[in-house]
């Protein structure tokens, strides 16, 4: 479609203006085509979100955010357990996926041609294709069976496995794209490797790394299948209650913390899936509302993270 330089040079030397105008035309066409493609990609987004918003906003009330589920026929009821569950699962997953992921990516970016480096790249690519239900199975065998009960910890670990390849891959690519002279300059000034990475290279690549993390978090918080086998679901999970009852019965911080992460938990996609499978229209409506809440949370996370990165990197730019 596009002439490369060789064939352009082999054209008979007609007046260069015609060749140039052909190239200009091709340029304009392709560039406006990309604009069209962007619009085409955003159309489903607007459509889906519009669909979810219209269906979900009918059922969203303040009670939806602040109450636990109630049986059919009772007024009120909400998905507070699912919102808190989603947050807890995401925090646990991020805790287990982000630091090891970034560190592994640093290793691969540093030593791409060693056996270990090549194997890590290979492993992340393979891991990204594992069906999420198998990850759930793995989490079941590793954590649930050994502990003897379903828990938020198991769910968080399964989600961490799903987040892992995305974080490693994007971080690795972003590190590779930072200019070499940054690294060499820092090392030349006597900084040790770890300081070079933490203070110089990672901040330089932070925007791309944040993209990777946000994509991973978005993916993980929308997953249902792995949680079926690890976190199970729990209609009565409420962190405020756990903390206050723990304080009242004088339990220690560690024991309260334990009760928060060692119980089965619900999450918004899990609740959404369960409700959408039920016959009762009230539940299906609640499913849409839960979807709207989930999308809202992810959007908020996105915006906050980006703004924070912009703010901190604009501080850096001044220096």
């Amino acid at each position: 479609m596009i002439t490369n330089q060789a064939s352009a040079n082999s054209l008979p030397l007609i007046r260069p203006e015609i060749n140039y105008s052909r190239r200009k035309l091709a340029n304009k066409l392709m560039l406006s085509f990309t604009g069209l493609l962007t619009l085409a990609a955003l159309a489903p987004l607007v459509w889906i979100i519009g669909f979810v918003a219209i269906k979900g906003s009918q059922t969203i009330t303040w009670a939806f955010f602040t109450q636990l589920p109630r049986p059919l026929g009772m007024a009120g009821g909400g998905v507070l357990n699912a919102i808190e569950g989603t947050l807890i699962l995401t925090i646990i997953a991020a805790f287990f996926a982000i630091p090891p992921g970034i560190l592994a990516a640093i290793y691969v970016a540093d030593h791409p041609n060693t056996p270990l480096g090549a194997s890590v790249r290979f492993s992340t690519d393979v891991l990204s294709g594992v069906p999420s239900i198998i990850v759930g199975l793995f989490g079941y065998a590793l954590v649930v069976k050994t502990q003897g009960h379903y828990s938020a910890l198991a769910g968080g670990l399964a989600l961490a496995i799903i987040m892992f390849p995305i974080i490693v891959r994007t971080t690795e690519e972003m590190i590779k794209l930072t200019p070499r002279n940054l690294r060499e300059g820092s090392l030349a000034l006597g900084a040790p490797e770890w300081k070079t990475y933490l203070s110089v290279i990672l901040p330089a690549a932070i925007k791309g790394i944040i993209t990777g993390i946000l994509l991973a978090v978005a993916r993980a918080s929308g997953e249902t299948a792995p949680l079926l086998f690890t976190a199970l679901g729990n209609e009565r999970y409420e962190i405020g209650q756990i903390i206050s009852s723990g304080i009242r019965s004088r339990q220690g911080v560690w024991s309260i913390f334990n009760r928060i992460i060692e119980q089965p938990v619900d999450s918004l996609p899990l609740t959404l899936f369960k409700y959408s499978q039920q016959p009762y229209p009230e539940r299906v409506n609640q499913a849409w509302a839960a979807a709207l809440v989930l999308i809202g949370i992810i959007l908020a996370l996105n915006i906050i993270a980006r703004l924070w990165v912009n703010y901190s990197s604009s501080n850096l730019k001044g220096k």
Partner: protein, 402 residues
């Protein structure tokens, strides 16, 4: 900057360590002499709470546990999920100490969980196999509810209720009967014969394994010899209509319902509650005694009654294709699975058994199940189940003392 961050972190750690160390040992539980208990009666789905004051006598086990201190986890079949959710919610008013959490992850997940002991009780539509009984040790299935599976349809131009029987259903799902105006269907529906269009039938089945499919295919196998030979009965089978090019698999009862609603001239099978809630037309069936029946509480009760003495010693039975005049032919029990003797936490064991006993005997609980389209056990069967519950032991002692 760094220093202050480190200091703060160290202080936080120190504080939490001190807090944990200084927290006093759990207070010994005081036996309360009088107890105020809130009892919930469910009226039309709205709980009406009344407060009773109970004086504890030495023989009584008072509710001296802090509210919400015993958590019981159950998982399994999605078929009875709406009822179990209601029961769990109501039970927190009956016994505030207990929190019951039941999740519908599928009968297979429930069976796996109870064998692995990751849950306290399981719900299942499909029966345990011999190898699963062996792996689990002392598992017992207890029938709790019965439900009906109904054929739903969406035919252009047909407004009255369709009547089908086992042979026509088997024919449709094996691809032998291709069009809606087939003679076999016309024979069963003389008044509709003119309205039935000459269009191909799209047969929607379940794509995921499920107890609903198991009940449906068990019925077809029991009533139709050809189906019994192939493909047979199970929670997931190979549907001949797929090969014939007219089959669609829908995920979950809801998936089948939506498919039928969106596809003209289609047929599917779902649990009764889905048909009622989504207001989809569902067919009458000609049962084993030759009578056309509609699916409702009475025909379901008749189906249960046909098999009330057919229980094996494992307390399981199929209730398809009953011979009673008014029996709905496509019905099935849903079961709870428990460990009989080897539960480790005796308090949990006691609470689970008390919950099940309450669910089986409380009239409000039964009424709520009926409102949702399910049928509770008739007294003959209920007695058997209660007798089994009395046999549950923990550490050698029977769990149910009342």
């Amino acid at each position: 900057m760094h220093h202050s961050k480190t200091t703060v972190l160290a202080l936080v750690l120190l504080a939490s360590v001190l807090l944990a160390a200084c927290a006093p040992a759990a207070q010994p539980v005081e036996i309360i002499k009088t107890v105020q208990v809130e009892v919930t009666k469910m009226v039309q789905g709205t709980p009406q709470v009344e407060v009773q004051v109970i004086t504890a006598t030495p023989e009584m086990k008072p509710t001296d546990l802090p509210a919400g201190s015993v958590t019981i986890n159950g998982a399994g079949a999605t078929f009875p999920l709406p009822v179990y959710t209601e029961w769990n919610y109501a039970f927190q008013y009956v016994d505030p100490a207990v929190v019951i959490n039941y999740q519908g992850i599928g009968s297979g997940g429930g069976k796996k969980g109870i064998i692995d002991r990751t849950i306290d009780y399981a719900g299942s539509d499909s029966l345990l196999k011999d190898e699963e009984y062996e792996k689990g040790g002392d598992l017992q299935m207890l029938p709790i509810l019965a439900g009906a599976v109904v054929p739903i349809y969406n035919i252009e131009g047909v407004t009255k209720t369709l009547t089908l029987d086992a042979n026509t259903l088997a024919g449709i799902y094996s691809g032998a009967i291709k069009n809606w105006n087939d003679e076999a269907i016309q024979a069963l529906n003389p008044e509709l014969a003119a309205q039935l269009p000459d269009k191909a039938i799209t047969a929607v089945h379940r794509s995921d394994g499920s107890g609903t499919t198991e009940i449906f295919t068990k019925f077809l196998a029991a009533a139709n010899e050809a189906w019994k030979a192939a493909p047979g009965a199970g929670s997931a089978i190979e549907w001949p209509v797929d090969k014939a090019g007219n089959g669609i698999g829908g995920k979950g009862n809801q998936g089948v319902a939506v498919n039928v609603l969106n596809t003209k001239n289609s047929i599917g099978y779902v649990e009764l509650s889905y048909a009622l809630a989504n207001k989809i037309a569902f067919a009458q069936m000609v049962n084993a005694s030759g009578q056309p029946v509609k699916a409702d509480a009475d025909s379901l009760a008749s189906a249960i009654a046909d098999f009330s003495s057919a229980f094996t010693d494992k307390l399981t039975t199929d209730i398809v294709n009953g011979s009673g005049a008014g029996s709905w032919p496509i019905a099935g029990y849903t079961y709870i699975i428990l460990h009989m003797n080897s539960m480790e936490d005796c308090l949990k064991a006691q609470k689970v058994v008390e919950y099940l006993k309450w669910a089986l005997t409380d009239p409000a609980a039964a009424g709520r199940a009926a409102d949702l389209g399910y049928t509770v056990l008739p007294s003959a069967v209920q007695e058997k189940v209660l007798a089994k519950l009395a046999e549950v032991t923990c550490n050698g002692q029977p769990v149910l003392t009342k």
